[in-house]
């Protein structure tokens, strides 16, 4: 039981980074970022390259991952989505562009890193015991960093001028422009921040589970599940979704063999959406 709680908390914290990122992007740009898992994957592989190949400290790797994935995100916004949005075309076109980007990033990673699962040694050694449960020190560190980052993001969007503008933009683009906010710049920053969060999540998780070039689709799917549970574009919803998925996974893996857990999660999710199409905290859709 304790083990399930510990595992659930660790998973939830990491997932929260992913969910916050994708919901930020959805809220601001109204784009479902199909490439989110690929951004996660690139974050992990950059850390692998910096620390296992080049040999620099892990911290440098994480910083490099954050920065590079954030830049990729900003480039995606500028080069692809801002253009599609400007033409006010179909919402689906932006979605499909994200699919194309996912494909591109995945293949770039395959070309550069191959198919192999890449991992790096844990940052810290040792295992703690909490009652009947085990808590590896490395996972504890990852957990603490994730929680700290989630709090930092919450503080940023709630208490800074730019963060406020991002929230405003997600709620009413026109009214935000009327406040004198440069919507283009804030969109780019928001997309960059959302991407960077995915990158950090990957950078942290590579020391726990490892990352390979093909992991993107699975991560994106998890990200979608989380925002569907919580409601797309709502920050509190993303955190709720992360908690729900993290604990559902932890409980499921403790009770059922392998893939049954996700089968149950998907079926439960579909049933849930039929009852509550807009998620727990979401805005009504359409």
């Amino acid at each position: 039981m304790e083990q399930v709680i510990i595992n659930g908390a660790i998973l939830s914290a990491n997932y929260a980074l992913i969910a916050l990122g994708i919901t930020l992007i959805f809220g601001i740009m109204n784009v479902l970022n199909f490439a989110h898992g690929q951004l996660f994957m690139i974050g992990g592989l950059v850390v692998y390259w910096i620390s296992a190949v080049v040999g620099l400290p892990y911290g440098v790797g994480v910083a490099a991952a954050t920065l590079s994935v954030g830049l990729i995100g900003m480039a995606m916004e500028r080069g692809l989505f801002a253009r599609v949005m400007a033409e006010a075309g179909r919402e689906e076109n932006a979605m499909l562009l994200a699919v194309g980007t996912a494909f591109l990033l995945e293949n770039a990673a395959l070309y550069l890193f191959g198919e192999k699962q890449r991992g790096i040694p844990p940052m810290v050694q040792g295992v703690y015991r909490l009652g009947a449960a085990f808590l590896p020190a490395n996972r504890l560190v990852v957990f603490l960093i994730s929680v700290a980052l989630v709090i930092a993001v919450l503080v940023f969007v709630h208490f800074t001028r730019t963060g406020r503008a991002m929230r405003a933009l997600a709620q009413d683009r026109t009214a935000t422009t009327l406040m004198g906010v440069d919507a283009g710049r804030i969109s780019m920053l928001g997309f960059g921040l959302g991407a960077a969060l995915a990158g950090i999540a990957g950078a942290l998780l590579i020391s726990v589970t490892g990352v390979n070039a093909g992991v993107g689709a699975a991560i994106s799917t998890k990200a979608f599940i989380m925002i569907m549970i919580g409601g797309a574009g709502v920050i509190g919803g993303a955190l709720l979704g992360a908690l729900a998925l993290g604990f559902a996974e932890a409980v499921g893996y403790a009770l059922f063999p392998g893939s049954v857990t996700y089968l149950i999660i998907f079926v439960a999710l579909i049933v849930f959406l039929l009852v509550r199409p807009q998620g727990i905290m979401g805005r009504p859709w359409g």
Binding site: A168, Q171, T177, L178, G180
Partner: protein, 241 residues
């Protein structure tokens, strides 16, 4: 056309089209600093479009807009706020999920000076209802409170020109009276120039000095508000005389 304007605000023969539909054509409006100008007319006459063109939400199809000696119509919407133009859009567009406080702070987005915290306090003194609800999500306020909030939010940018789009829309008469009083006070206290678009033409004509009547994208009538208030044609337009 002159390369500048001697008036504080001047729209010269401006036109606006949505897709292929003409919303405004050859509209000229000019006024000097420190007054209230009313724009009245039927639904779809182009009143809101005029405000949207002035604030930069829609591009001009023709004509020029000058404000305080500067050509306005080529400046992006966001930058116009920094120049001192604030617009309160139709339908009380608060940021519904943000707190009242955050809504007000959004209004001061363009300001970098230290006076923001003090202005917030001043604003809350002026609107005690908003102080009571400072941490509440703006979407939960009543219609009248939301109208107060969006006007206060616009004032947070310390505008020199305030554009108000139908502030009385759907509000109880008593609240309309409060709003009207507030608009008069804003002009009196801060010397802010105000363009007021209204369906409630009597209220608009009462508190403004000069007024334009828009009819399907053109100016049908203009004059001192006092005169229009007694004008038979205006009465007719709104009561089916």
């Amino acid at each position: 056309m002159a390369a500048t304007s001697s008036r504080y605000f001047e729209a010269r023969r401006i036109g606006v089209s949505y897709d292929r539909v003409t919303a405004l054509s050859e509209v000229s409006i000019a006024f000097d600093a420190g007054g209230i100008v009313a724009l009245i007319g039927a639904n779809g006459a182009g009143k809101s479009t005029f405000l949207r063109a002035t604030s930069g939400l829609v591009a001009l199809a023709g004509g020029e807009i000058w404000f305080d000696g500067q050509r306005l119509d080529r400046i992006p919407a966001a930058a116009r706020v920094a120049m001192g133009i604030a617009m309160v859009p139709e339908g009380r567009r608060v940021f519904p999920l943000m707190s009242v406080r955050d809504n007000l702070l959004m209004g001061a987005h363009v300001r970098r000076d230290r006076g923001v915290a003090r202005d917030l306090d001043v604003m809350l003194d002026r609107f005690p209802r908003l102080r009571e609800r400072l941490r509440q999500a703006a979407g939960t306020l009543s219609g009248g409170e939301q109208e107060m909030l969006v006007i206060a939010r616009a004032l947070m940018s310390r505008p020199r020109l305030l554009l108000l789009d139908e502030p009385s829309l759907g509000l109880a008469p008593i609240v309309v009276r409060d709003i009207a009083r507030l608009i008069v006070e804003i002009r009196r206290d801060a010397g802010t120039s105000i363009v007021l678009v209204e369906q409630n033409s009597r209220m608009a004509l009462r508190i403004s000095q000069y007024a334009y009547v828009l009819e399907t994208g053109r100016i049908g009538l203009e004059g001192a508000s006092q005169d229009l208030l007694n004008e038979e044609r205006v009465r007719e337009l709104y009561l089916g005389g």
